[in-house]
């Protein structure tokens, strides 16, 4: 199954038989005071830096979140997306939990975007699936619902099933659905990542669906996060993860993903791996 996402001039494919898609997570003001202040003052300069850093480090797509409290998020998100399209041709992942913001962001985007995200709650699916259809976008769906985040893989799979049925019933092709197997920090629960990996395995086995995930969550609250993130991603890829919203700036993490591409047979004859090595030698 291939999920194809596009900017005005560039196309990217997510799938189990192609290289992993790195969606840079940096354009997000949560916890960044200076960034928030600038955005409130209509200053988008931080975005320029974040785009440049992530493009240079080798991100395949960029996530855009404009969740600044006490602002007009729909207007801000639309403006940021217009701006980013002048800075890069990488396809975008539009990130908000406000439906109006998603709508505004999608309207401002030229191409086929990934929407981040919806849950398996009926009211969220009612609100967001029409946008998926209206803009011919892809949707990232989280297997949690009104009752919270299920901790075990089989419980998550029950909600995945519900989401798949609903997406099918709406007539949306399943290649436009990505599942987020829910990454939680191993710092708060020793079994957390094992459960996530098991969920990935089951989603791939049962549905063959593509997946993406907020990968950096696994290392929250722990020292040396880069090393943990770099260890997690190859494990996840071998369980069927096809893309991640992740640290798209740190070479250690990105290299781990590209190495796993080669080792898992997704980079035939090491073409990408060897070119990256040569480029680095020349730099």
């Amino acid at each position: 199954m291939h999920t194809v996402l596009r900017s005005a001039s560039k196309e990217i494919t997510i799938g189990h038989d192609v290289p992993f898609v790195i969606i840079g997570e940096r354009i997000n003001p949560t916890g960044r005071k200076l960034f928030q202040e600038r955005l409130r003052n209509d200053d988008l300069s931080t975005i320029e830096i974040d785009v440049a850093d992530q493009v240079a480090a080798g991100s395949d797509m960029l996530d855009v979140n404009m969740g600044v409290p006490l602002t007009d998020e729909p207007a801000l998100l639309a403006k940021a997306i217009k701006k980013i399209q002048t800075l890069t041709d990488l396809p975008l992942c539009i990130d908000s939990s406000i439906v109006e913001a998603l709508d505004a962001g999608l309207a401002a985007y030229e191409g086929k975007a990934l929407i981040n995200s919806m849950t398996g709650e009926d009211d969220r699916m009612d609100a967001i699936l029409p946008l998926v259809k209206k803009y011919d976008a892809a949707i990232l769906a989280l297997p949690n619902d009104e009752t919270g985040i299920p901790m075990t893989a089989p419980e998550r799979m029950i909600i995945v099933e519900k989401i798949v049925r609903r997406v099918e019933a709406e007539g949306i092709p399943l290649e436009n659905l990505l599942i987020d197997p829910l990454a939680m920090t191993v710092g708060a629960d020793t079994e957390a990542v094992k459960n996530t990996l098991e969920t990935m395995y089951l989603v791939r086995e049962k549905y063959g669906l593509n997946m993406s995930i907020g990968a950096s969550n696994v290392s929250f609250g722990l020292p040396n996060r880069h090393a943990l993130n770099a260890a997690f991603l190859p494990m996840a890829m071998s369980m069927g993860l096809t893309s991640a919203i992740m640290d798209g700036r740190t070479p250690e993490v990105i290299t781990a993903v590209r190495a796993a591409d080669l080792l898992l047979g997704l980079d035939p004859w090491g073409g990408n791996w060897i070119s990256a090595f040569r480029a680095q030698q020349q730099a």
Partner: protein, 218 residues
Amino acid sequence: MSPDEILKEMYEQTMVGNAPRVLELTKLGLDEGMSPDTILFEALIPSLEEVGARFERGDYFVPEMLIAGRAMSGALDVLRPLLADTGAETVGTFLMGTVKGDVHDIGKNLVNIMLEGAGFQVIDLGVQVAPEKFVEAVKEHQPDVVGMSAFLTTTMPMFKVNIHELSKAGLRDDVIIMVGGAPVTQEYADVVGADGYAADASTAVRKAKELIAIKRGK
């Protein structure tokens, strides 16, 4: 073991999160005739304060804080009924919950640990706490402080909804309302009409004590 040795080891074992040993030492101390007050205020609370200080400095990490909290909770389960018997006054009762629509709980749990470590009685309503649940719990437990946590910009507006519901129920002025969570700011806390905001767990404890002192001083 002498009482001093017990307290010293309890302090150290709480800090490394050795729950079984801390529980053992608590029972041993009580058998030796130590008062629950002494165990709480001379071993457990100082230990958790040190854990909090290390966490704030970046020397301690989330798992270390969680297991230290768990070690203390185990001891508190034994001490709590005895403390009630001796009539020791609690610092205050803190009702805590993550707002409706939000399932994030790590930060909230860290604040709970620090509050318990400082001698608060904490009633944790968990995550996805609906406004009516906050109202019910305030009626039932009559806490000094209601703490609301939100991790998402989209769930933060629930602070305002919760405060409105408490007002409607005539309970707003009976409690101190504190809010917190990654995207929350002092400015936002003011806008929704909360009484207090803190950026991290240690500050939350200081702020809660401060607000209670002001209220009780009235």
